[in-house]
Symmetry: C2
Subunit: 385 residues, 2 copies
């Protein structure tokens, strides 16, 4: 039996200029360009191992230990694209094994709870596509591969790079120019950190795919956002990253989070992701910045109530001092010597911590990595981890 | 001693097309036209008695039993305008008593709690201006008088009419064309009712005057709202009132409430008026309409978390059936035979009623009324009520 395997890890990314709205649903083509920061894989990553053999009978995925059928159109689109690229190589060089014709076994695990609403599908599709690209020894660069990940989950394309990443919306109908590019690597601005407050929520959020469609179809403010607001902000935010100007970067990040949630609210029926707890966190961040007289912390919220607060290393003592003052009771402080944090005198509702279940402290990180760590046995079954 | 007195009542109005943004702060000139429904004075009204005498030493106001100095610029602007109109009459007819030169005693009371955030300033300024206009026997019509009330509180101008009212923004710099007009009287569409859910809130809301200024100065979506969204909606909503088309009226009302709160959220820092309880009420209304297959209830929220739900008399059993299902424990049901309400099978968080302190059931009502009921004694002191 012929057997080939490869493994890759991919990171989570959290957008600072939000993707909300598709101009083409099946190709996941967005109505606007977006920007994200890639977070460290030490804290948040998906590890995916893939194997192929001429003896496998069907494509199978084991996700976090559970077998799942590969019936989703999005996953099938990714596999088809990757096999097509492999088949082109095989056509040029007939000595290559015909991997494009064999079935795939895929094993994927996150090092964080999927349910927390932390962009796990982005890391998942990025790791899947990169692992298969490695298995197939595809020569395409990450931007090319990002177009395939994009078909799995739009924001997954941004997880193909580390550091600071832009997803250029493109304007071709076939999506060939809608891809991720590096704005700057981690090394350009390595002091960017992120504190994630996982907010408890008693309701099921509107799924982002259907939410986006509702906004595109019904919000009277949406067109203005994508045509007039985002394009200028996209250029300004890239410049703020090149300049390592946190004040500009942070303000744009907060404004764009609010703008995105505003068009959700302007949808019919309205879509709400921010809860009362989210709003209390927003107020705390504004109060901290006001007290400092400059922007040292910037919140952003995806399609859910979790707060991601970006800040620079040199302000960690103040930013975490504020967070510790209000959230000392929640888990996630083990990495920090909290006795050394600054005392920050900003009050909030004394029950604010009850709305938060967990703190994740992380920082800007690298893109996908090939790894020798494998989740798959020589017979193509998941290894227990 | 010469003594003259007059009393008037004025209603609360709740906008269905929202006023948010001033183009001139001291004249209270708005950035967009707005529309409101005037609510019945049986449930919500201000009664104001005014007296004047050549022996009074100073202008005094007793508001809900407490003496207050008349130092606010807005109140002084109203008094100055009314005295100017009176002085013109006195100039033309020297036989008239010189009331324009005498001091005023003013006594004002609401029949509802001021603190509930129920547009009490609109009713208050409307009653003040109408009572003095009556005292001075001014010949101006209500639209003219509305311009004076507008200087007290923008939305007060809409409380000068009953039924369905538009505040035309105007475009003159001096505000002479920024006034309220009747869209339709109560008799045109008398079946419009309103259920007000007074929502408890643990935080102090952003005052609307400063909130508006923040939105005008910082929201990237605001210009689009006032230039492109509201003008079309203004015409469509007037037509829906003329046509008594609740489906169109209700949808526009909900959309405009959401659009207003969206530009608040898009402000920097963001302004939040809707709480988690407000959002749960919004969802209930959408679920009811979905279950009916048409819009029979429409929510709107001012600069605070209270929900005003408009509906037509013929759907009362269903709309109040839903509200009673979830809010039977809160006060305000005494007018209703709740045993006759329909059973509505729409679930919500079982604690939803804990966020609501009171229910007010009312309906569309008349504009300001002159009344023989007086709050002021012959010596110009407040009568105990």
């Amino acid at each position: 039996m012929s057997f080939y395997t490869a493994s890759a890890t991919a990171p989570v990314n959290i957008a600072t200029l939000k993707y909300w709205g598709k101009r083409d649903k099946s190709l996941n083509l967005p109505t606007n360009s977006s920007i994200s920061v890639t977070l460290s894989q030490d804290d948040l990553r998906t590890l995916t191992s893939v194997a192929t053999s001429d003896e496998y009978k069907e494509d199978i995925l084991w996700l976090n230990g559970k077998p799942e059928s590969l019936t989703s159109e999005r996953t099938k689109a990714c596999l088809a694209d990757l096999r097509k690229l492999r088949a082109e190589m095989e056509g040029t060089d007939p000595s290559l094994p015909q991997l494009s014709k064999w079935k795939l076994h895929i094993v994927s695990e996150n090092n964080f709870p999927t349910a927390a609403g932390l962009a796990s599908s982005a890391a998942g599709f990025a790791a899947l596509v990169v692992a298969i690209a490695k298995l197939f020894k595809l020569p395409q660069d990450m931007s090319e591969i990002s177009k395939i990940a994009r078909k799995g989950s739009g924001s997954a394309c941004r997880s193909l790079f580390g550091g600071y990443v832009a997803w250029e919306m493109g304007d071709l109908e076939n999506g060939e120019d809608s891809k991720a590019v590096e704005v700057a690597p981690v090394s350009h601005w390595p002091t960017m950190k992120a504190a994630i407050l996982v907010v408890s929520d008693d309701k099921k959020d509107t799924p982002s795919t259907s939410g986006m469609q509702t906004t595109v179809a019904t919000s009277d403010l949406f067109e203005h956002r994508i045509k007039n607001v985002v394009p200028a902000r996209f250029e300004e935010m890239k410049k703020s990253i090149h300049d390592k100007n946190f004040e500009v970067f942070g303000k744009l990040t907060m404004q764009d989070s609010n703008s995105f949630h505003a068009v959700c609210l302007d949808s019919y029926p309205p879509i709400f992701y921010l809860t009362d707890t989210s709003k209390k966190i927003i107020k705390l961040v504004h109060q901290l910045n006001d007290a400092e007289g400059k922007i040292i912390a910037a919140y952003t919220f995806d399609a859910g109530p979790n707060a991601v607060i970006y800040y620079e290393q040199q302000n960690e003592s103040k930013v975490l001092g504020l967070i510790h003052k209000h959230f000392s009771l929640i888990p996630g402080w083990d990495k920090v010597d909290t006795s050394k944090l600054e005392t920050v005198d900003i009050a909030a509702d004394e029950n604010i911590h009850k709305g938060v279940s967990k703190l994740i402290l992380t920082l800007v990180g690298l893109g996908p990595q090939e790894t020798s760590e494998s989740l798959i046995s020589k017979t193509g079954e998941p290894l227990s981890t």
